[in-house]
Structure formats: structure tokens, C-alpha cells
């Protein structure tokens, strides 16, 4: 084997090992920098007229990149190496506001007991992976 080929093999080996190390490091950094979200469980209630209503804390409703009202639902999906949580943006119409700060939202895709993001330490965008801080509380909640 010529000297040129040996040098190329050494460079390739060094690059591959570097990329392996960087892959592990970047995965750790990525997980450490994920937005930390706390959720509020959406409960559907029935009004006097028999209509299903969804009341949410006002903090759950945010403005998306287009300036529209939206909420972010935490869902689960297959990630790179393991299952991960992500935020799914759902556009909503705010119909009413109560004195306690709760708002009435209309959105067909929102389901009973859906975890809606109420608080996050970083801005959340659609389909972005997140760290769900109160997952254990959500799992313990009784389904009504």
C-alpha cells in the first residue's frame, strides 16, 4: 500500500472516531437543551345546553408563528434512539373568557385528557421535541 493511501486511511479513521464522539456529545447537548414544559390536562365539560366545552387556563393559549391562537399538545413518537415527547400545535378559536382567567376554546382535534402545555422555559414550536416535567402527575390523574 502506498504512503498516500496509508495517510488517507489514517485521516479517515480519525474523522470517523471524531464523528462518533461528536454524535454522542451532540445527543447529550440536544437533550439537555430541550424546552422543559409543564402541562395542564384538558377536561371536557358539558354546558347546561348539553354542549361539550373546553375551558383552559389563559396561559395555555399562545400565538404561533402566523400570529394565530394555538395550543400545544404533548404527544409521544419514536425518536432517534428512544421514544420522545414532542409538542403538536393545534390552532384554536377562543370563544369566551372567564373572570378566573380561563378561556373557552373550540378545536375539533383536542381530546378529553389531552396534556396542553401551560408553561415552558423556552419557546415551543410545532413538532419540536420537549421534556415533559409533570408526566408523572399526568399518569396519576384519574380519567373521568
Amino acid at each position: 500500500m502506498t504512503r498516500k493511501r496509508i495517510v488517507i486511511l489514517i485521516i479517515s479513521g480519525i474523522l470517523l472516531i471524531s464523528f462518533v464522539i461528536l454524535t454522542v456529545v451532540s445527543e447529550k447537548v440536544y437533550i439537555a437543551l430541550l424546552p422543559e414544559v409543564t402541562t395542564h390536562t384538558l377536561r371536557t365539560s358539558t354546558s347546561k345546553d348539553g354542549v361539550n366545552e373546553r375551558w383552559l387556563p389563559g396561559e395555555c393559549v399562545r400565538k404561533n408563528s402566523k400570529g394565530e391562537d394555538a395550543v400545544y399538545v404533548v404527544r409521544e413518537r419514536e425518536g432517534r434512539f428512544r421514544k420522545e415527547f414532542y409538542a403538536e400545535e393545534v390552532a384554536v378559536d377562543v370563544e369566551d373568557t372567564r373572570d378566573d382567567g380561563y378561556v373557552l376554546v373550540l378545536a375539533m382535534v383536542l381530546g378529553h385528557m389531552d396534556p396542553i402545555v401551560i408553561e415552558s422555559n423556552l419557546p415551543v414550536s410545532d413538532q419540536e421535541a420537549v421534556k415533559w416535567m409533570n408526566k408523572a402527575e399526568y399518569d396519576r390523574e384519574p380519567i373521568r
Partner: protein, 263 residues
């Protein structure tokens, strides 16, 4: 007069070389661009692109590994299939041999998109859609590889095979111990050309794979819409590196192989 012709040739070739190298230089310089505007000389310099690509997010490196895995699997399979098929076409006589070979040449001329739909139907029946095997398996059976190695084996004198047979070697032993070492240049050419083809494939992963985490780097590069220009250019350099290293490793064999098979 000859000196004048030489000077003109040098000028023309220099201009062509600059035009060819210019995109690479542009990409390399803009890898250090931390702004949002392209420019030959970036106005804002920094290593933010490298930080975003190699440290902040693992997406690009994971797609690099996806590309490498798919390319290595395709090359390994292609080499095996092409060596066996090329040897068969070169050394054996069987009914329909010429018709079959012409069909392979016709397939070689067709763009991949022609057989994409039929491939999808077959892979769906085999329940392979969404798996890496859906991209790897169709690519293993390459008509170009069969053609290239058949031509290379045709150039080897039959006396070598006869001598091997006299020594008691079977067909497989003759292929791997006699024919392939003699056609080393063509094999190296096939490795490089197959790697470039597999490394740059975009349509097949887009159609046959479902999860974005399975996509190779080529698909990701085609869909990049980042505002950090440095990151786009660093990903471009990342995609070009393996091809460049492979070419530098095999460049002499590639030139010899292409001239050897008269392509």
C-alpha cells in the same frame, strides 16, 4: 506559434478550473458565515455553523451515519452480485445469454424513476416499505456493475482460468483468486461510482422510507431551509468528505479502470 497555443490552452484551462473549483471554495468560505446573507467573503465570521452541526444538534451526524450504512451495504451487495453476474456473462455460454445482456444494457440506460413505481409495488408486497432494506435491495442489483465487470473479465486471458482449472480450482475459486485480482482496477472503479451513486440518492429514500430519522444526508441537504448559512455549508462539506477521501484513495485505479474497459 506553439508557445502561443500553449499560453491560450493554459488560460482556457485555468478559467475552466476556476469555474469548477469556485463552488467548493464558496461553500468552504461560507461555512464560517454566521450571518443570514450569502457572499463570497462573509461579512460576519464565526464557527457557529460548526457548533450547530456538530455539537448543538445530532441530526446531521445521525443522517451521515444513515448515509454511510446505506452506502456500505449497497456497495457490498453490488460487488458480490456484479462479480458473480459479470463472471457468468464473460465465461459461460448459455441459451439467451446475448438477449439477457442486451436487456441489462437497456436497463442501464433507463433512469431510475422509470422503475420506481414497480419497485414500490414489489417492496410493499414484501413489507419492506419504511425499512432501510427497501432502499438497499433494489440498488444492489445494478446493471452498470454487471456491464463493467463483464467487460473487465473479458479482457482477462482465458489461459489464466484454464491454468486454475488444471490446478483443481472450481469456478468460485477461479473467480475470487484469479479473475477479481486481475480486474482490480475495474472493481475499484465500481466501488467509487457505486458509492457516489448511493451517497447521493434522494428519490429512493424519500419514497421508500417513512421516518425522518432514517433519511440519509442527501435527502436532508435537499430539504434544508436553515437561516444559518454556515450550517448549510458545513453540512455540504460533511456530505462531500467521504466521497473526496474515497476518490483520493482509489484515484489511480479509477482512471485505469475506466480506460481499461473503454468507457
Amino acid at each position: 506559434m506553439k508557445k502561443k497555443t500553449n499560453i491560450i490552452a493554459i488560460i482556457v484551462l485555468s478559467i475552466l478550473a476556476i469555474i469548477t473549483i469556485f463552488p467548493l471554495v464558496y461553500t468552504f468560505l461560507n461555512a464560517f458565515n454566521t450571518g443570514s446573507a450569502y457572499g463570497l467573503i462573509p461579512k460576519e465570521w464565526g464557527i457557529r455553523g460548526f457548533y450547530e452541526t456538530f455539537v448543538r444538534r445530532p441530526d446531521y451526524l445521525i443522517k451521515f451515519w444513515n448515509s454511510l450504512f446505506i452506502a456500505i451495504c449497497i456497495i457490498t451487495g453490488q460487488l458480490l452480485v456484479s462479480c458473480l453476474a459479470g463472471y457468468g456473462f464473460s465465461r459461460f455460454k448459455f441459451p439467451g445469454k446475448n438477449i439477457l445482456f442486451y436487456l441489462i444494457i437497456i436497463l442501464m440506460m433507463m433512469p431510475y424513476q422509470v422503475t420506481l413505481v414497480s419497485n414500490y409495488a414489489i417492496l410493499e408486497r414484501l413489507n419492506l416499505i419504511g425499512k432501510e432494506a427497501a432502499v438497499i435491495l433494489p440498488a444492489i442489483f445494478s446493471p452498470f456493475g454487471v456491464f463493467l465487470l463483464k467487460q473487465a473479465f473479458d479482457m482477462c486471458p482465458t489461459e489464466f482460468c484454464e491454468a486454475a482449472k488444471l490446478d483443481g480450482a472450481g469456478e468460485v475459486r477461479t473467480l475470487f483468486s484469479v479473475m477479481i485480482p486481475r480486474a482490480k482496477a475495474a472493481v475499484a472503479s465500481l466501488v467509487i461510482l457505486s458509492f457516489v451513486d448511493a451517497w447521493n440518492m434522494v428519490e429512493q429514500p424519500l419514497v421508500f422510507l417513512r421516518s425522518q430519522y432514517q433519511y440519509p444526508l442527501s435527502v436532508f441537504l435537499s430539504q434544508m431551509n436553515e437561516r444559518i448559512i454556515g450550517m448549510v455549508c458545513v453540512c455540504g462539506i460533511l456530505a462531500a468528505l467521504p466521497v473526496l477521501l474515497l476518490f483520493l484513495f482509489f484515484d489511480e485505479d479509477l482512471v485505469e479502470g475506466i480506460s481499461f474497459t473503454k468507457i
